[in-house]
Amino acid sequence: MDEASDVMPTELPIERRQRHTRDRTTSLNSLSHFKSGPSKHIRGPSTLRNRDSNASMKSIGSETDYSEIIAPIPRRHLLQTSQSLHWLRVDTSQGDEWLNRGVSPVSASSVGSVFPNNRMANRLSFTALMDHERTAVGPSSTTDNRVLEDEGTVGAGRRFVRWMHRNNMKNWVIPSAIATSTLVKWCIGLGAYSGHDTPPMFGDYEAQRHWMELTVHLPVKEWYTYDLQYWGLDYPPLTAYVSWLCGRVGSLIESSWFTLQASRGIETGGSKLFMRATVLVLDLLIYIPALYTFVCSWQGTRSSRKRHAALLTLLFHPALLLIDFGHFQYNSVMLGLTLLAINAFAAGHDLLGAIFFVLSLGFKQMALYYAPAIGSYLIGKCIYLGPVQGTRLFLRLALTTTLAFVIMFAPFLPPFSPLSTIAAPITRIFPFGRGLFEDKVANFWCFTNVLVKWKRTFAGRKGFLIKASTGLTALGFLPAVVGLIFGGYKTRLQKDPKNDLVNVSPAMASAAPSSPTPILPLLPYALLTCSMSFFLFSFQVHEKTILVPLLPLTLLLSGAAPTDEVFLWGALGNNIGVFSMWPLLKKDGLGLQYLAMLFLWNRLIGHNPFKIRYGYFVELVSSVAHTAIIFLHLLELVVTPPARYPDLFPVLNVLICTPIFGLIWLWSIKRSAEVSWAMSGLPGKRDKEGPSSAASAISARSSSAAFGHSSIRGETGVRAASLGYASGRGHGQADARRRALVVSAGGDREH
């Protein structure tokens, strides 16, 4: 025993030793090394590839097998000194945890020292040792993981990633994941699209194609005025420019796809192929890199396995895939640009982020749903930086944003065209002329319309409805805005006379604008709150718009462990989001793809909505909602709606979805409150804590400032490492404030 621990320092490099000591304090892990260790280190290079754990069990278990140990020094394992062989009877209910972990390179010697070096260990049976260890560590971690593995909560995505990593194919995970998602997207695209074979107006597909047609053939001035009755252009200019580009490329290949007038409603195989390819290419150019940078920047501190699993979760996002590649739209471009903006913020490049967000707004006005959150984040950051730096940043941001908008609208502005031209795109982009809602949308207005007939009651007073919806929306996103700005104020950098850290490093002051703020973890929740509030309360919402709130929700989900509340809300929101678009998808003839994607994605992330495992409220909601969904689908198969209520099923759909979306909105507000509490303490308490927390933020930053571009990793790394590791386990964790910060900062619990 003693000699075993002596060997350790010579055998292992320092980091490894540190890891061992860490392991020792953590959990039952050490027991896994216990079994798996010797095979790796004692048995020599011939078995290096052999990651088997039974092997060592065997060499320990049967005395006769000594000859098989081809080792420098065959050493008696700790447990072999035990008289009893009880431990060979591996308890099946507990053996799972160590099996599913990657085996860390630990030698038996280091593990041996975990156990108290006394005679008690010799006499204890294996299960008793396990209990001993478990009580020493605390009850949470082992049971948690066991449940996780046993119930199959670990998704197929994680299993795949684990398998790839174990087969030394770490570098292939991302390429193959992207290739597979591309394949799935393409296969969804084999099906029908919006408005397929439904003359004379067709659908969204024809709208997009028509825009390519008109932008290629008409001068810029006429883009927003040409034949508005037939799918007139009503997206911002960037869409028009992209359409022009696609139209040009398409015309090069086959000019008949985009001849003016004559090509209306064209549905040849070639043109469909081209249109599908444009979505795929734009997605590959913008959305996929955005996801990749998201995983790298926001989750930079997590292990590569978890990052890969998160990327898989995001790549197969069912709602987006169904709408973009099935129904046919270019939402991934808008969402990707917003995501790039968020990533730029996380990396501290605020100006770049602002430009990306302007581009996102310029591609599709739906990005406005994010605008309050983004705007108040930037204001919060200005406040955080203090009066001098903050004002400077504010001016820069204002200038950049204005310039970006001006450049984007330049063709519609003097000197390129008379000033009056600009009116056309603006009125087209913001259609207040339409009603409160058109089809059945799972938002507040449509939901309450069952009781209060809004349109009829306020038939003559449209202005009131507009005001009401605007007011409610603003009220809905107010918490997020306040949270961000107040958070910025709370954590603002102060020049403390006693603590002159700020003065000590002048280099840091200049580096300040390019490093992230402490309010960054609030941003995803703020985006969720804002966009969900817009979806629920604003004017003229389409069912497809649910994609906008689903993006931040899925981003949060991808960073959470399957046992976490965030994960469960995210999965619920996504499933309900897809379901809320069922009437649309059904009309498009995408029922099969709808089912396939739902199954695929839930299996991928390892989500079973019908299991109540941890006693969260969300699990109850989820199982009720999913049961209702299945019931509704079955009902729809069997029953044809009565003539009096032709919209029976869409209305029932709305009735199921709206409460869930409302709950997600409320939950998001609650979570942002928790996160901001974790960030800056309770309101009013801060005066005492102020200097120290500011100092810690600064010191964290100063350590990372040296890394320049990758500063975000350092920053969140410090935060997540200090908070995440210590508080990282057990869902029974009482300290909600730490938990919140850890999860949102991208570190999650170690499993």
Partner: protein
């Protein structure tokens, strides 16, 4: 002891799964737990993902085989059994053996409830969404036979972790995806039976193996390519003692059961006196040496050589006699007899003799060493020889080679390399079956992912450094050949764009594909033959 020894080489994945089997049995609560007894999580993943993916392929292109099978549903459902092999309402007459006809009859019963038009003999070219969903679903469901057999292969195999990869690679094989789920056939089901039969041979239940193979033969007679190996193996290792004495009881039981299977299949038609008609449907000897698109076998190389020689003769005026009809006979998508211009013509009997000679060599080896491994190798080689030298071989028949070859792939690096060359060439040779642009991207990307995630780990596990300079050379030639496929795909894709669809050169990409694949398949054939002949079993 041996069990413990086996588990030595398992990577941790296997440990997970075997442990999970143990774990699952403690909580027989839900359906998923019930499944968990048989399937591990990763098995369910693979099953679910491939199924979902195949669902997404429902709207994809399907070939005339789709209509063929729909027509057979209609024939078996609406006509009495005596009419099955006489009906000519559609040009796609029933030309599979009776078990397959019974199978179609079985499937036509639910079809008639779902949509009566599916089984209407007159609704030719019917391709409503109902029939597409129904027929594609039958393929997916019947393919579960393959999945079950592959799962059984993992259990009790010498090296379960590698076998698991091999099983997954077969279940997700691009060949099955292209032929069954896009092009439309029931190969997954058939190969499931074949693998089940091979599995029985592995477990020493040779009578069951023989019966299953007889059943398979009565589903699709193309498996006759493999019959010689079965015959020799069962005769030598089941009906004879190791010393060489015949065991009469075994011989009689085997003969009787096989006869019984054939009786169940052909009996009704014999009673009706339709056997000659049936056989004429099954063996139409009126076709040419090559299929429309030359299957990449030895004859493709010969035909290509003939084309080349013809050009030489034309330009150089060597004075060789040119066969005039041969000049006109090209392969431009016409099903017809291939007539050579320069090289003497080849008759069915020639191909038959060449095939038999090759097969004899392997069978003699098998006779001397009737072990399971030897059997699988001989089986593969019999199929391979038939594929390489057979008369009017379809490119789809390459699966007959690839599937049993996969079972040997993890033996060592030499086998693995043979398998990789044959697989890549074979799969690439199936690409021309799917010529629509949307599915072109699909087949290429899918095959790449398949190769990257399933072949590559095997490569990492099995790779051995070449031992001498000549082996290094060989290895680099082989790798260069494999990389050449990327170039070939680019050329094949771009060629029609560059020539603008000129009908005179339209056949060139196909010819290039066929010849290039034939080189690899021939080389792989030589490799495998050498390995089999020289290796001790």
């Amino acid at each position: 002891m041996s069990a413990v020894k086996q588990s030595h080489s398992l990577p941790a994945d296997e440990q997970d799964d075997s442990q999970k089997h143990a774990l699952k049995s403690t909580s027989p609560w839900t359906f998923s737990n019930f499944l968990g007894d048989v399937l591990s999580h990763s098995d369910i993943d693979i099953l679910l993902f491939s199924t979902v993916f195949k669902f997404l392929l429902f709207p994809a292109y399907h070939s005339t085989d789709f209509e063929v099978h729909r027509n057979w549903l209609a024939i078996t459902h609406s006509l009495p059994i005596s009419q099955w092999y006489y009906d000519t309402t559609s040009e796609w007459t029933l030309d599979y053996p009776p078990f397959f006809a019974y199978f179609e009859k079985l499937m036509s019963i639910p079809a008639s409830f779902i949509d009566p038009k599916i089984v209407d003999l007159q609704s030719l070219q019917y391709d409503a969404w109902t029939v597409i969903v129904y027929q594609r679903l039958t393929v997916i469901i019947s393919e579960l036979v393959l999945g079950a057999a592959l799962l059984r292969f993992i259990r009790d195999s010498v090296d379960p972790s590698r076998q698991r990869i091999l099983s997954a690679s077969l279940f997700l094989h691009p060949g099955f995806l292209i032929i069954d789920h896009i092009h439309f056939q029931y190969n997954g089901f058939m190969f499931g039976i074949l693998l089940w039969s091979i599995l029985m041979a592995r477990e020493g239940r040779k009578l069951a193996s023989g019966i299953l193979f007889a059943v398979l033969l009565n589903f699709k007679h193309i498996y006759m390519y493999l019959a010689p190996a079965y015959f020799v193996y069962l005769l030598r290792s089941y009906c004879m003692s190791p010393a060489g004495a015949i065991i009469p009881t075994r011989f009689i039981s085997l003969a009787n059961s096989v006869l019984l299977v054939f009786l169940a299949s052909l009996g009704p038609f014999m009673l009706m006196g339709q056997l000659p008609q049936l056989l004429s449907r099954l063996f139409p000897f009126t076709r040419g040496l090559n299929h429309a698109y030359w299957a990449p076998n030895a004859w493709a190389l010969v035909t290509a050589a003939d084309r080349l020689l013809l050009q030489l003769v034309k330009h150089l005026d060597v004075g060789l006699a040119v066969n005039e009809p041969g000049v006109a006979s090209t392969s431009r998508g016409l099903v017809g007899d291939t007539v050579f211009a320069v090289i003497p013509n080849i008759k069915p009997v020639h191909t038959f003799i060449v095939t038999i000679i090759f097969q004899m060599v392997y069978l003699i080896k098998l006779w001397r060493a009737p072990t399971y491994k030897s059997f699988v190798a001989a089986l593969t080689l019999c199929g391979y020889a038939s594929y390489m030298f057979g008369w009017h071989v379809h490119e789809k028949a390459v699966l007959l080679v690839l599937v049993p070859l996969t079972l040997m792939a993890s033996e060592n690096y030499a086998y693995y390399k043979t398998f990789v060359i044959a697989s890549i060439a074979g799969i690439f040779s199936l690409f021309p079956l799917i010529f629509t642009p949307a599915e072109t991207l699909l087949k290429v990307v899918y095959s790449l992912i398949w190769g990257g995630t399933l072949l590559y780990p095997l490569h990492k596990q099995l790779y051995e450094f070449p031992s001498s300079l000549s082996w290094v050379m060989l290895e680099s030639f082989e790798n260069a050949y494999l990389y050449g496929f990327a170039l070939l795909q680019v050329v094949v894709t771009l060629f029609p764009l560059m020539t603008g669809g000129n009908p005179d050169t339209e056949f060139l990409p196909l010819m290039a594909t066929s010849v290039y694949c034939a080189v690899g398949l021939l080389w792989s054939f030589i490799r495998l033959s050498t390995l089999y002949i020289t290796q001790q079993y």
